[in-house]
Amino acid sequence: MFLDYLYAAGFAIAGFIFLLLALWVGALVQPKDPSGRKLTTYECGEIPVGQPWSQFNIRFYVFALSFVIFDIETIFLVPWAVVFKDVGVVGYVEMAVFVSVLLLGLAYAWRKGALKWAL
């Protein structure tokens, strides 16, 4: 079991070596002249105006928060699904209750308009 994780890590290391190699070879053959307008941020060829940051929609935050909550739900669903055939009908009812309570939450958020992407 542990060996397989080492293999996976080995694969990741192989990818990392390729990455370093590519950047290194690139650095050898590329021209390097960091100067002038090249270093400004891109704004369709104009000189950038104002701050890069603009006011973002608060909805992003709501969705991220809902995501965390439902992500935790998935974590409970996975072990249940895997042993589902062993725990049988009782397990199914338990999970149905669990999912229903969360669906209630989703319905509540829906009803209150938290899932609406409006400005």
């Binding site: 079991m1 060996l3 397989d4 994780y5 080492l6 293999y7 996976a8 080995g10 694969f11 990741a12 192989a14 990818g15 990392f16 390729f18 990455l19 590519a22 070879v25 690139g26 650095a27 053959v29 590329q30 021209p31 002249d33 960091p34 090249k38 270093l39 400004t40 941020t41 891109y42 704004e43 369709c44 950038p48 890069p52 940051w53 603009s54 973002f56 992003f60 969705f63 991220a64 995501f67 439902f70 992500d71 998935t74 669903l77 996975v78 699904a81 042993v83 589902f84 055939k85 049988g88 009908v89 199914y92 999970m95 149905a96 999912v99 669906l103 829906w110 899932l115 992407w117 409006a118």
Partner: protein, 327 residues
């Protein structure tokens, strides 16, 4: 011991090189197919049928100056493309692409690692892949990347939920999160047949997960220039590019493994079947790009949260009911 290390090393290098080649020729395939769809000719100048085009593109990217904008956050700016690339490729470590073969008297399983939590590993890596985009966007310190990055992150996390929920149906059938077991469970019938709703949800959510049309809002080029990678050039841009196309390949491989029986199939060797299915899905990705227009952002979020998510949860409940009834 040495033998094990050697086998693992050879497998890793072969898979990595194969993936990189696939990415290179995926770009060519995309350009040719899109050109045909739009009744154009497409690249045909470099080499016979334009077959050397990806190599020429690669060399050109390598030779370009690597500009780091003065306002950028240096560390994160360099780290982001590496994360994006790494996340796309690391997923492949747990995907089995063939049965065990006997080579020189040794049994070698075709697949780099078979971990018990294989599917969770895939989701873990893809949840880290979001950071490549977020950090890239933030480090650029520029308007379009910031907007694109934030959009992209919200979209990816939303659709990741749909991905996980739709996969739960498969897990109930396979009794295991190990992808080798999932393939073994499809010896008789594909899970796409037993889980049609889950399959469709997974398919649609994967389009959003890899930022492809019709869900490519993060890099909507006519509104956001290029989204999160606007400020990137040369090899770092190439890394983002490799990451994006690499994740297309790994996503296709995941769909194949989860719903289409993985490497299973008659007549041809398993690896060939695996490749056929993956390439078919890649073609489908490109076909959809050539056919559908882009969603609006509010439509996208609405679709994810109000259609795909409830449908996938209902799918779980119905699957459970049927399984409990029949057993």
């Amino acid at each position: 011991m040495l033998e094990l290390v050697l086998i693992a090393l050879v497998k890793s290098v072969v898979v990595l090189v194969a993936l990189l080649l696939m990415v290179a020729y995926l770009t060519l395939m995309e350009r040719v197919v899109i050109a045909r769809i739009q009744v154009r000719v497409g690249p045909n100048r470099v080499g016979p049928f334009g077959l050397l085009q990806p190599i020429a593109d690669g060399i050109k990217l390598l030779l370009k100056e690597d500009v780091i904008p003065a306002q950028a956050d240096k560390y994160l700016y360099v780290l982001a493309p590496a994360l994006s690339f790494g996340a796309a490729f690391a997923t492949f470590a747990v995907i089995p692409f063939g049965d065990t073969v006997v080579l020189w008297g040794r049994r070698i399983s075709l697949g780099i690692a078979d971990v018990n939590v294989g599917l969770l590993y895939v989701f873990a890596i893809s949840s880290l892949g979001v950071y490549g985009i977020v950090f890239g966007a933030w480090a650029s310190n520029s308007k379009y990347p910031l907007l694109g990055g934030l959009r992209s992150a919200a979209q990816m996390v939303s659709y990741e939920l749909c991905l996980v929920f739709s996969v739960v149906g498969v897990l109930m059938l396979s009794d295991s999160t190990s992808l080798a077991d999932v393939v073994a469970g499809q010896a008789k019938v594909w899970y796409a047949v037993l889980q049609p709703v889950g399959f469709l949800v997974f398919l649609m959510a994967s389009f959003a997960e890899v930022n492809r049309l019709p869900f490519d809002l993060p890099e909507a080029e006519n509104e956001l220039v290029g989204g999160f990678h606007t400020e990137y050039s040369s090899m770092k841009f190439a890394m983002f590019f490799l990451g994006e196309y690499g994740s297309m390949i790994t996503t296709s491989a995941m769909i194949t493994t989860l719903y289409l029986g993985g490497w299973r199939g008659p007549f041809f060797p398993p690896v060939v079947w695996f490749l056929i299915k993956v390439v078919a899905f890649l073609f489908f990705f490109i076909w959809v790009r050539g056919t559908l227009p882009r969603f609006r952002y509010d439509q996208l979020m609405k679709f994810g949260w109000k259609v795909l998510l409830p449908v996938s949860i209902a799918n779980i409940l119905v699957t459970g009911l049927v399984l409990a009834w029949t057993s």
